[in-house]
Amino acid sequence: MSREQYQIPTGSAGAGGAGSGAMGAGSFNAAAARDYEGGGLMHYMCGDCAVRVPLEKGAPIRCQKCGARVLYKERTKRMVQFEAR
């Protein structure tokens, strides 16, 4: 189960293929994919207040809570395996 063996699940394997096909990189996150279908929503982390910011395609890059303009991508939810050594 090495990291190299891992294959990114393709969007077509997911539940609703049509919408997620537009997402190029494949469904890196099932929840995000679902949101995307329902209006092209992606979540980011606010750099200032750490709140989860939903952003639509083309929306201004800005935190709705504090107005900060620095947003971070969320970490991948891919499982990574380590030896506890």
């Binding site: 750490a50 989860r52 969320e74 970490r75 499982m79 990574v80 380590f82 030896e83 506890a84 050594r85």
Partner: protein
């Protein structure tokens, strides 16, 4: 010329390792056949039984101190080494990280988790849990985890703002929920027959619930699961059942000529507290010719009270006033062990397992040798 058997003093003298100001003498044991002409030093189990003694100094659950008296260093050392490196325990071996947005890196976090000592039901750990063997074929990996070779754990923590925190609060533990991740947050996920062996008091849990694993800030999250396997200390220190298992030789302090008065007080200060006591010279002692106490009745003299507490710092050898009056040494066959358990096994049990382990190894090799001849 007929051989004279050694006197008791001579036998005592042979047991002492001399400690001089800058040298150490008589380090190696001499109890081998042929070393002293005319004496029988061949191995005899009954003679060993007669001369061997165990004394306990304290025996708490996770810390035991005891002496083995009348045994050779090679055997004593084998027990010590086995306790550290060959007694198996259960520890976290693999970490599956689903999410970790904390500031501590995945691999560092995994390493930390591995070092946390765990406890669990005695029967389960000893009898139920077996060795995990990694299959040679990687594709068989998923079907190699059984309830009797793998213990599953989970850690799910998310840090959030605490709305109930007082205004102006600066303490992160009050300002946020789950600002600190502790060992007690690790959750045991029993599978199959593990429920039977590890439930209630016997559940797999960290020995010390207050070990700090990570610190979080709002929005940060740790979500992971872990597998524990059985292993030995020679593979990785996290598997060692002891924090330390060590021995030292019993110190011997011999006052050869009286140390009196202010010198006696100074002499006592050369040693840790309790090693040297001060007593008044009695009339009887003072009356004895050639004892060195003549005319000193009522004065304080130094006496050896508890040599075991000495650290053998040799401080007393540095002062001219004690020259020729004191001899330091250690008893070569008196081993004072200190076994500190990490908490999975009891200290005295660890030693007994070490003895059993050595026996089993010898037994196995005896069979192998017979096999070899065939």
């Amino acid at each position: 010329m007929p051989h004279k058997p050694p006197t008791t003093e001579e036998l005592e003298r042979r047991k002492i390792v001399g400690i001089r100001e800058e040298t150490i003498t008589d380090v190696t044991s001499t109890d081998f056949p042929g070393h002293y002409p005319g004496e029988d030093h061949s191995w005899d189990i009954e003679r060993f039984r007669q001369g061997f003694r165990v004394e306990f100094h304290h025996n708490e659950t996770f810390e035991a101190s005891f002496s083995l008296i009348g045994i050779d260093a090679s055997i004593a050392n084998a027990f010590r080494r086995i306790m550290i490196a060959d007694i198996p325990t259960l520890a976290i071996e693999t970490v599956f990280i689903n999410n970790n947005t904390s500031v501590i890196q995945d691999e560092v976090l995994s390493h930390r988790l591995g070092l946390i000592p765990f406890k669990g039901g005695h029967d389960g750990l000893h009898k139920f849990i077996k060795w995990y063997r990694k299959p040679d074929d990687q594709s068989q990996l998923d079907s190699s985890y059984f309830d009797n070779n793998t213990v599953s754990l989970r850690l799910e923590v998310k840090c959030e703002h605490n709305d109930k925190a007082a205004a102006g609060e600066t303490d992160p533990t009050k300002l946020y929920k789950h600002a600190h991740v502790y060992a007690r947050d690790i959750e045991f996920v029993p599978v199959g027959r593990q429920l039977q062996y590890f439930s209630g008091e016997d559940a797999i849990a960290p020995v010390n619930p207050d070990i700090l694993i990570a610190k979080l800030r709002p929005g940060q999250e740790i979500s992971l699961s872990m597998h524990m396997h059985k292993g030995v200390g020679s593979d990785h220190a996290k598997f060692s059942p002891v924090a330390t298992a060590s021995y030292r030789l019993m110190p011997v302090i011999t006052i050869e000529r009286p140390i009196l008065g202010r010198d006696a007080e100074k002499f006592a200060r050369c040693f840790p507290k309790g090693v040297i006591g001060l007593e008044k010279v009695t009339r009887k002692e003072a009356a004895k010719k050639g004892s060195g106490y003549e005319g000193h009745e009522g004065e304080l003299k130094a006496v050896v009270r508890d040599p075991m507490r000495d650290t053998v710092s040799r401080e007393c050898l540095r002062h001219d006033e004690f020259k020729g009056k004191v001899k330091l040494g250690r008893r070569r066959d008196h081993f004072i062990y200190l076994v500190e358990s990490t908490g999975q096994l009891q200290s005295d049990e660890i030693f007994l397992e070490a003895v059993a382990h050595l026996k089993k190894r010898a037994q196995f090799l005896e069979k192998q040798v017979m096999n070899m001849v065939r």
